[in-house]
């Protein structure tokens, strides 16, 4: 008997959770390759710091991966796996040049870490090898996703509510639109460079 009650409670809890959160999905078109879609700042809401610790590697004179998305407050490790010295710097975060930073130049096998406390897109460059670029998108909320090559994306576990959702793509203008989440929601974007 006790057992059945527990199962009932568990079931009800799961149903409640399922009812109060959904996904935002859709497609980003007009541009080629992956984009990042994120829920913008929600007023009055703060989030626990991210436990992610992603790595952006420099390997074969290429940044790998080319595109990384993180929640604001995340520390990113910049690794050098090449046998040559690399540098990492950026000239702005979200277009703000005051947030330009130079992490330095370091040899193979070493890494440097940086905590990104301001949301926005960060173009990552290496001064030693000017053809190398990568992008880091610092999302203001934990609700973000990187699309596949054809632009399809899915942001999971978004609580019901009304949000502004923004699509970012390398070299394109950001596009934002209001999205009401109640269960599953759809949002398509068409970006232009």
């Amino acid at each position: 008997m006790k057992h059945n009650v527990l199962i009932l409670i568990a079931g009800v809890t799961l149903m409640t959770l399922a009812a109060s959160a959904g996904t935002i999905s859709g497609q980003v078109s007009g541009v080629a390759g992956p984009s990042v879609v994120y829920v913008d700042t929600i007023s009055g809401k703060t989030f626990p710091p991210s436990t992610q610790h992603p790595v952006i590697d420099q390997r074969g004179l290429v940044f790998q991966p080319h595109l990384t998305a993180v929640q604001v407050g995340t520390t990113v490790d910049f690794l050098n796996s090449d046998s040559v010295a690399h540098n990492v710097f950026w000239t702005s975060i979200g277009g703000n040049k005051k947030l330009a930073h130079n992490l330095g130049t370091w040899p193979k096998g070493e890494k440097k870490s940086f905590k990104f406390d301001t949301p926005g897109a960060v173009p990552i460059l290496c001064n030693v090898h000017p053809e190398m670029t990568a992008y880091l998108v610092v999302a203001p909320t934990p609700y973000f996703a990187t699309s596949d090559q054809t632009g399809n994306y899915k942001i999971e576990n978004v609580p019901d509510g009304s949000y502004t959702v923004t699509a970012w793509h390398e070299g394109a203008k950001n596009q934002s639109k209001p999205v009401a989440v109640s269960g599953d929601a759809k949002a398509d974007f068409t970006l232009s460079k």
Binding site: N102, T105, P107, H129, P130
Partner: protein
């Protein structure tokens, strides 16, 4: 002292030329490193690379083939300068590059990626003007202060590379500060840094130090310093004669010819002359290669 009166005019001309060179251009300080013997295993042995699997030290010129049986090898007259072993060389960074870097990075500086990386981008990264122009072009202007910081860090990384080497690149402790400065100036010219051609630095080099640079930076890529003298069959099977054996295996004229133009080598159990595998270094002068031979004689290679 009779000879003095005969050659005095010539000597004075030489001294005058040397003096005018050192006063006429920016000159490196003459603080010299002592010349030391080449030591230890070759760089490709150190990396556990096979000679056939690497572009290091390769010029992809191999000289003439061996003569057919019954044919006589083409005669060749070496053309050494009189007194070459006592003459100080008036050099520039381009010569430092030739003696130390070109064997792997080629005359263009591009190397053979991915094994041997280009020097061009890491050198351009040391120029404030290049960085600022590049960032402006990409629409991400940066301040001169930030560009200067980036350039300084790239310069430190480049100097570190010369002094400490990398995973695949050997260090160059045989280069003294004036040589490094002359080399940096030339690398900037090679990399197309604006105005670099006006910043070239003249240096003077002793004959034995010229030989030392060639041996340590170029020959020692593939030749171990010491080891047993391989027989023709071992040579056929891929043995590379150690540097310690070269001055007894060859005469100076043969050595100069082998390095600068190619010369057949005996290979096989029933030894026959073959073209051999050694690249030809036609960008080295006969005087320079003769100095490498003298250096190997005067400073016998060590374990």
């Amino acid at each position: 002292m009779k000879s003095w009166s005969i050659t005095s005019t010539k000597n004075l001309v030489v001294i005058f030329v040397l003096l005018s060179q050192s006063f006429g251009q920016k000159s490196g300080s003459n603080k010299e490193l002592p010349v030391t013997a080449v030591k230890g295993e070759s760089w490709i042995s150190h990396l556990h690379k096979k000679f056939s699997d690497t572009s290091m030290g390769k010029t992809y010129h191999t000289g003439p083939g061996a003569p057919m049986p019954g044919e006589k090898a083409a005669g060749r007259q070496e053309n050494l300068s009189p007194n070459f072993a006592a003459r100080t060389m008036a050099y520039h960074g381009s010569d430092v590059y030739r003696l130390n870097c070109r064997g792997c990075h080629e005359s263009s500086g591009h190397g053979t990626p991915p094994e041997i990386n280009s020097v061009i981008d890491p050198v351009r990264a040391t120029s404030v003007e290049v960085i600022m122009a590049r960032m402006k072009k990409s629409g991400m202007n940066i301040s001169r202060a930030n560009a200067t910081l980036l350039a300084k860090q790239s310069n430190t990384a480049l100097l570190d590379r010369f002094h400490k080497g990398g995973t695949d690149m050997p260090p160059f402790p045989q280069l003294a500060e004036p040589e490094i400065r002359a080399l940096l100036a030339y690398l900037k010219q090679l990399a197309g840094v604006p105005g670099a051609e006006r910043e070239q630095i003249a240096i003077t080099e002793s004959p034995s130090h010229v030989g030392e640079q060639i041996v340590k930076s170029t020959c020692h890529i593939c030749h171990n310093a010491v080891g047993p003298n391989p027989n023709p069959q071992q040579i056929l099977e891929g043995a590379i004669p150690p540097l310690s054996t070269l001055t007894t295996r060859t005469t100076m004229p043969d050595f100069v010819r082998k390095v600068t133009a190619g010369n057949p080598i005996s290979m096989g159990a029933a030894p026959m002359p073959f073209r051999g595998r050694m690249p030809v270094f036609d960008y080295l002068s006969e005087d320079e290669v003769a100095n490498a031979y003298l250096y190997l004689t005067l400073y016998p290679p060590q374990e």
